[in-house]
């Protein structure tokens, strides 16, 4: 009888011991997750952004861009494979051009009501540029056309040249280019008054009607025709960094197409 009780006590003690041993545990199964490699979230290392690869034989390349900053445009020149960041003006220092500024709009679903407009200097552009990006908004020195293809390989196998495609130019907008989102939860957002390419900007829809934003990529390949006559094919592969931070664009391209 006594031995029996001792055995039972020993069994219960074993449970306790097991428990204590594992109580220091701070998680398991780390191996099923990925670790962000050199994630690119560090904005101090700007040299890694831009045209990160290009094959002159196939004309294929990759752009990796830090688009986390709401207050600047990034200008890209495909001809020179260069990148230049230029800040969005927030004040008026000289004569007003009649349209440049930041429009604070109340957003209700898909309706916009202008609250106030702050006049600013005109946006300064880069000397040479083909494409300018701000967050997920785009400006094109020329026009853009959205294809039905979901990858550059699909595009290449089609053999189409898009010479007769209808390229859409930039148009003026005061409710697309967000520069001040500090009051987003009150649905009051500051937008830059500027020309913007709505076709290319559709590569990533950012729905803010029910915060937080819902991101929906189109997944399509876009053809750009620049003022110099050259064309480029672009596909937005990803809009997040390796660690999942939104605003880091990976764009595969063919230039000249």
């Amino acid at each position: 009888m006594r031995e029996n009780i001792l055995h039972k006590c020993a069994a219960l003690l074993a449970i306790c011991l097991y428990a204590v041993i594992f109580s220091s545990c701070e998680g398991m199964f780390d191996g099923i997750y990925d670790s962000p490699q050199d994630s690119g979230d560090d904005t101090s290392q700007e040299t890694k952004y831009g045209f990160v690869s290009y094959d002159s034989l196939s004309h294929k390349g990759v752009l990796y861009l830090d688009m986390t900053n709401y207050k600047r445009w990034t200008y890209l020149s495909f001809k020179d494979m260069t990148l230049q960041n230029i800040a969005i003006p927030e004040t008026l220092t000289g004569n007003w051009d009649g349209h440049s500024g930041i429009s604070y709009q109340y957003v209700n679903g898909k309706e916009y009501t202008l609250d106030t407009m702050i006049k600013t200097d005109a946006q300064t552009d880069a000397l040479y540029w083909d494409l300018a990006l701000h967050r997920f908004d785009a400006r094109v020195k020329g026009g853009a056309y959205m294809t039905d293809y979901n990858s550059l390989d699909e595009l290449l196998s089609s053999g189409k040249d898009f010479d007769n495609a209808e390229f859409v130019s930039d148009e003026y907008t005061d409710n697309q280019v967000m520069t001040d989102i500090s009051s987003m939860f009150s649905f009051r957002i500051g937008y830059q008054n500027i020309n913007c390419n709505k076709v290319l900007s559709s590569w990533l829809d950012m729905d803010i009607s029910t915060p937080p934003p819902i991101f929906t990529p189109s997944g399509k390949v876009y053809i750009l025709r620049f003022d110099d006559g050259n064309k480029a094919a672009l596909h937005l592969d990803s809009y997040v960094s390796d660690s999942g931070v939104k605003g880091y664009l990976t764009i595969s391209f063919i230039y000249p197409y």
């Binding site: 428990a19 679903g109 991101f215 660690s243």
Partner: protein, 713 residues
């Protein structure tokens, strides 16, 4: 010719007379009272039957070759069966017992000791496996909304689910699985999708503060999900499949093995639903309901080497993917396991020791890069001990309970800016349960909790008195509740999409509550009526402040803070019965009132609706041994509620009224050969469509359907 006809008729008459036998007798209750109107019929053919007269007497003619059973049934009493003998005339005296099946169920949550529901000193709401089967609920949110008025699940930001149970949000209602806490939270609520209804034996709900037994986060109540562990067959297999609107699919499989001292139950559950859009309105809080899928694996092994010793080991894995952004779905995983030993030391004492591990992770799956990046992990290791000592060998008229818990809580979150946090918590508690006589019972408990982070501690107490006589029970109680600030609430420092920061507050005080409650219960046969009322004084509720800016260049922020006293009071009335001919009905009404003295808080949640009601009526009939069916009509009504919407821009509030709504469901279930169950249901029967869709509107897109097939072997 006339003679031939006469002989033929005579033969028919004689033949007919010889093919019948007479069964007569009486139907009375245990006190000898005649049960007039009781139904007497053949068990295999209920179309052959009669009813008892005012003296309880009956006469039934049946085929002489019938060799089965005859049954007598009466509302509020357990059906009794008797064998038919070969005698041409048989006298049978039925003595029916009162049906107290519902109240005969054992509950454990109110006192952490097994008690009959009718004798539980703490009022306990019980949702049985039969209720779960009738509601066809897929998970705990479905179930509670159908069964518990005053419980509402609405959306918080980012379509995360937020619960409100009688004025208490998710962080103040403790969810347990077999008595164990769940790790992880999102917007202060546990992952309700973890709590599928597959393999659940019953759910016990104790409303009101229960911190004297359960510690922190039990200020609003405890919901304890008890899983099945009783198996009778050596091998049992259960399979089920469901298909419904929005490509809603659910599949589950259970395999039970039972041999000697070993019992094992393995269950697997999958659910999936597509994203669907709702009618657009510019004032909608959401325009889509995001789909996703879940997997839930659970295994429970029970070892009983002797009558007085029982070991339980369990392990589980949960996976959920949510398609908020389709190319970067959110992923949620949980790994859990545990060991428990129960030892009946002697006639007077027993003890329980357990260890539990629960790890809840969140990650983002970046499809384009095939990267699964974890950004949240909460790991809880717990050890528990519980000891019961009865001062009497034969009757538990005085029962003393001691308990102690230790937990290591580890949290690594994307919402921290300076790495992971962890702390140890420990507690001891004691409870004395004293049956003064057959009418009166008094229970008192005291608990001391300690948290290593900030060397925080709390003392909680409760006392309950139960009076019981015949069919009446009255309970009167006071319970203390508290919630220690979580690691998240203390150390959070999160950049909310460049809009503002959410900051923790190391100086947060414990949220405390005082709960006073009274309830009355009357039971007669299958009729059960309960009424209860409660008052809660909540002090130092932890919530987030309004938008602040210190002007030091750090920008806008909200911060966790304690707010002034809140009064929450209300009551509940429930009536349920089993009517003759297989009719069952239940109606439950709940009233809740929150009085918040001080606002100035960024509270994203809708308050409790003052009035709510759930109703359920079903007709159940076993047509033959191999076929039965059930028709169920159920619904719920939630009244409108006035609230305020906070504007982060100018720190002002605007009044808003969230409209009332009612949802109804009709289902038809067929049972074939006791092994196959086929259900078809129309949900939101009257096609209610909210406009606009507020966070606390039902997520319905209109009338929906589902078909469910299950097989048990």
């Amino acid at each position: 010719m006339k003679k031939i006809i006469l002989y033929t008729l005579l033969l028919l008459f004689v033949g007919g007379a010889s093919a019948q036998k007479i069964v007569k007798g009486t139907v009375k209750d245990e006190k000898g009272t005649a049960l007039a109107g009781a139904t007497i019929c053949l068990t295999d053919d209920i179309t052959v039957g009669t009813t008892a007269d005012t003296d309880g007497a009956f006469v039934l003619k049946i085929k002489s070759d019938y060799k089965g059973k005859i049954q007598a049934s009466y509302v509020g009493y357990t059906t009794q069966y008797k064998d038919i003998t070969d005698k041409k005339q048989q006298n049978i005296a039925f003595t029916l017992k009162e049906d107290v099946k519902y109240l005969d169920q054992v509950v454990v949550t109110g006192t952490r000791t097994p008690k009959l529901l009718s004798e539980a000193p703490i009022q306990t709401r019980l949702i049985t496996s039969e209720d779960i089967e009738k509601t066809d609920a897929a998970n705990i949110t479905d179930l509670l909304q159908q069964e518990m008025p005053g419980s509402e699940f609405s959306y918080a930001m980012n379509q995360q689910v937020n619960m409100n149970m009688a004025g208490f949000f998710g962080q103040s209602v403790l969810f347990l699985i077999d008595g164990e806490r769940l790790s992880g939270e999102t917007m202060d609520n546990v992952d309700f999708q973890r709590l599928d209804m597959n393999n659940v034996e019953r759910i016990e709900i104790v409303k009101g503060a229960a911190s004297a037994l359960y510690g922190s986060s039990a200020a609003g109540g405890v919901i304890n999900i008890i899983t099945k562990d009783k198996m009778t067959k050596p091998v049992s297999v259960g399979l089920s499949a469901r298909y419904g609107s929005h490509n809603n699919q659910m599949y589950s499989a259970n395999i039970g093995l039972n041999k000697g001292m070993f019992h094992n139950m393995l269950s697997v559950n999958y659910t999936g639903i597509d994203t669907y859009t709702v009618d657009y309105n510019k004032d909608n809080d959401f325009n889509q309901v995001f789909g996703g899928n879940t997997w839930n694996f659970k295994d429970k092994l029970i070892l009983t080497p002797s009558d007085d010793l029982k070991f339980t080991a369990k392990a589980g894995y949960f996976f959920r993917e949510r398609l908020y952004n389709t190319d970067i779905p959110d992923r949620y995983r949980d790994f859990n396991g545990g060991l428990r030993g129960n030892w009946t030391i002697n006639d007077r004492s027993d003890m329980e020791l357990s260890y539990n591990f629960d790890q809840y992770d969140k990650s983002d799956y970046i499809k384009a890069k095939d990267l699964d990046i974890r950004d949240y992990s909460n790991v809880q290791n717990s050890v528990r001990a519980l000891y019961n000592y009865s001062f009497s060998k034969t009757d538990q008229d005085r029962l003393l309970t001691f308990g102690a818990d230790y937990m290591h809580d580890y949290l690594d979150s994307y919402q921290f800016s300076d790495g992971y946090k962890s702390q140890n918590t420990a507690d001891v508690f004691a409870q004395y349960d004293w049956n003064l006589n057959k009418y009166w019972e008094i229970v008192g408990a005291l608990r001391y909790d300690w948290f290593s982070d900030g060397n925080n501690s709390n003392l909680t107490e409760k006392v309950t008195i139960r009076w019981h006589k015949d069919a009446f029970t009255v309970r009167l109680g006071y319970g203390g509740g508290f919630r220690a600030p979580s690691l998240k609430e203390k150390y959070m420092n999160y950049d909310m999409a460049n809009i503002f920061y959410i900051r923790g507050n190391k100086d947060l005080k414990n949220e405390k509550s005082h709960n006073f409650n009274i309830s009355g219960e009357y039971t007669h046969g299958s009729f059960n009526y309960t009424a209860s009322a409660y008052y809660n004084l909540v002090q130092n509720r932890i919530t987030t402040s309004a938008l602040k800016n210190d002007g030091d260049g750090t920008g806008n922020y909200v911060q966790y803070m304690n707010i002034d006293d809140i009064n929450v009071y209300g009551g509940e009335i429930t009536a349920q019965c089993r009517l003759p001919l297989g009719l069952n009905a239940k109606v439950c009404y709940s009233y809740t009132k929150e009085e918040i003295k001080q606002m100035g808080t960024l509270n994203p949640y809708a308050p409790a609706r003052p009035h709510s009601l759930v109703f359920r009526m079903d007709y159940d009939r076993q047509v033959s041994k191999d076929y039965g069916f059930n028709i169920l009509f159920s619904g719920r009504y939630l009244s409108s509620v006035d609230s305020e919407k906070f504007n982060t821009q100018d720190n002002t509030s605007v009044n808003v009224t969230y409209p009332a709504y009612t949802l109804w469901k009709l289902s038809f279930t067929q049972r074939i050969m006791k092994k196959i169950r086929i259900s078809a249901a129309l949900d939101n029967l009257f096609n209610y469509i909210p406009s606009p869709y507020y966070f606390n509107s039902p997520t319905t897109s209109g009338r929906t359907f589902y078909i469910d097939v299950s097989v048990n072997l």
